[in-house]
Structures are given as structure tokens and as C-alpha cells.
């Protein structure tokens, strides 16, 4: 297992539909990342086309898990419609949503498209 600095951000890009089909697999993926020592995880949602309640539930559970381990889950590059969904569910009060514009940094993790 690699030694990771606890505050190193791992960026996980997600693509496509974030629905009942794909939420469980992403949940497994994030659990595996946490077990591998990644406390600080950022989900890049720039290419997410749809986020439903299954995805919202998964985000809530993942956020709780990261916090319980002493880490954090951040969302970034959230498309306007996805942000609206998060706001409707009150998740903008719970999750950390980074509103800064996208940069050219290289992602530390590969793209996840389930």
C-alpha cells in the first residue's frame, strides 16, 4: 500500500449518469479508495449529465465515511443543473462544493465511468 500524505487531494472524475445503476459501483470505488488511505477525495462532476436521489444518497454516505475517518469529500466543477439538484435536496448545506473555475491540473486518479 502506498504511503499517502493525509492531506493529499485525490481527484476522481465522474462521467455520465449518476443513478440507481451506477451509484453502488461508485460507492464501492470510494470505499476502496478510503481503505487505500485516501482521506481527502474530490469528485469532479464536470461530465456528470444526471444526478438522482440514488447518487445523492451515495454522496451523503460517502461524505459521512470520509469524515468519520478524519477526512473529507469535496465536489468540484458541478454543472448548473446538478447544483440545482443538490440545492433542492439541501445538500449544499452539508457537502463541500468548490465553486472555483476549473484549472489545468492533472488528476491524480484515472477517470471513473463505472
Amino acid at each position: 500500500m502506498d504511503a499517502r500524505a493525509p492531506n493529499e487531494q485525490l481527484v476522481v472524475p465522474i462521467e455520465g449518469r449518476f443513478d440507481a445503476v451506477r451509484a453502488p459501483a461508485l460507492d464501492d470505488h470510494l470505499q476502496a479508495l478510503l481503505r487505500a488511505g485516501h482521506l481527502e477525495i474530490t469528485l469532479d462532476l464536470a461530465r456528470v449529465r444526471y444526478l438522482g436521489s440514488s447518487g445523492l444518497r451515495m454522496l451523503l454516505l460517502a461524505h459521512r465515511r470520509q469524515l468519520a475517518a478524519g477526512g473529507h469529500l469535496t465536489l468540484r466543477r458541478v454543472p448548473p443543473r446538478i447544483l440545482r439538484t443538490l440545492q433542492m435536496a439541501g445538500f449544499d448545506q452539508i457537502l463541500t462544493i468548490e465553486l472555483s473555475p476549473p484549472t489545468d491540473e492533472t488528476n491524480a486518479g484515472g477517470p471513473w465511468d463505472g
Binding site: 443513478d19 445503476v21 451523503l60 461524505h63 459521512r64 439538484t85 435536496a89 439541501g90 452539508i94
Partner: protein, 159 residues
Amino acid sequence: MGTLAYRESQPGKQSEMCVLSQPTNLARIAEFVGSQARRAGLDEDAVYDIQMAVDEACTNSMNHAYEGQGDGLVSVCCYEDETDFVVSVTDHGRAFDPGTVPEPRLNAPLEEREIGGLGLYLMRKLVDRIEFSSDKMLGNRVVMRKHRKVRPSGCQSPE
């Protein structure tokens, strides 16, 4: 197994898609609802809203009415009336009473937020009118309406 039946009749009439209760069919349903909604003249924001509401309704049918079993039928029916684009989602699973689902507490802090109730809550917010019914013969049905801008025939709405 994908679409079991797809029936589309003349513009203004009813179109129906019937699928097995497998979540892999949700994308197919979304595409169907999207194309019908656009044809009815809904703008892209409204299309997204009704697609999401239908997605939530179908997910509920699959997860709750059919309890995760993939061999039930979910029927999605689209039509337009004078004012609205209308979608009904029907299943023949376990009887469902939306009154038994508590509303999510949106302002509760992270530790206290419950996992359930979000789908139903979003459905109510996303459409202009929603009605639930549950009947041994007709199954569970949710009818959702989204107002459409009424335009003179042959013209696009200026908005």
C-alpha cells in the same frame, strides 16, 4: 432485456414504453421521456425536470414496489393535453402509499440527515402537479404534469 413494448401514435396522442424492472432500463426511459417532452414543446430545463421526476418514480417502482426483483413491468406513458405534458408511471408491485414516507429534513445537520424520502420529495418539487393512486387491479400509478407553453400551431414560442 430492454424495451418490451413501445407504442407511439400521432402527435398529441399517447406514447408508451414498457420495460422490465431493471435499473439498466432507466437510461432508455429517460431518452424516451426526453424526446416526447421536447416534441411537446418543453424547454430544456423542463425536459430535465420531468426526466428526473420519471427517473425517481421508476426507481421507486423497481426498488420498492418490486423490491429489487427485475421481472416486474414498469410502464411509462406520455401524452399532452391543452396545458400540460403528462407522464404516468405504472407498476404492479407491492402497494405503495406515499403518505407513509416521511419528508426529508432538509435543514438537519449531516449526522442527522436520513437516507430515505429524497426521491419522492424531488418528484413533488420537479413537476407542477403529481397524483398517486394504488389499486389491486390497476397497480401503483403516479401521474406527473409539467406545464407547457401553449403556442399557436406552426409557431415557436418566443421565450
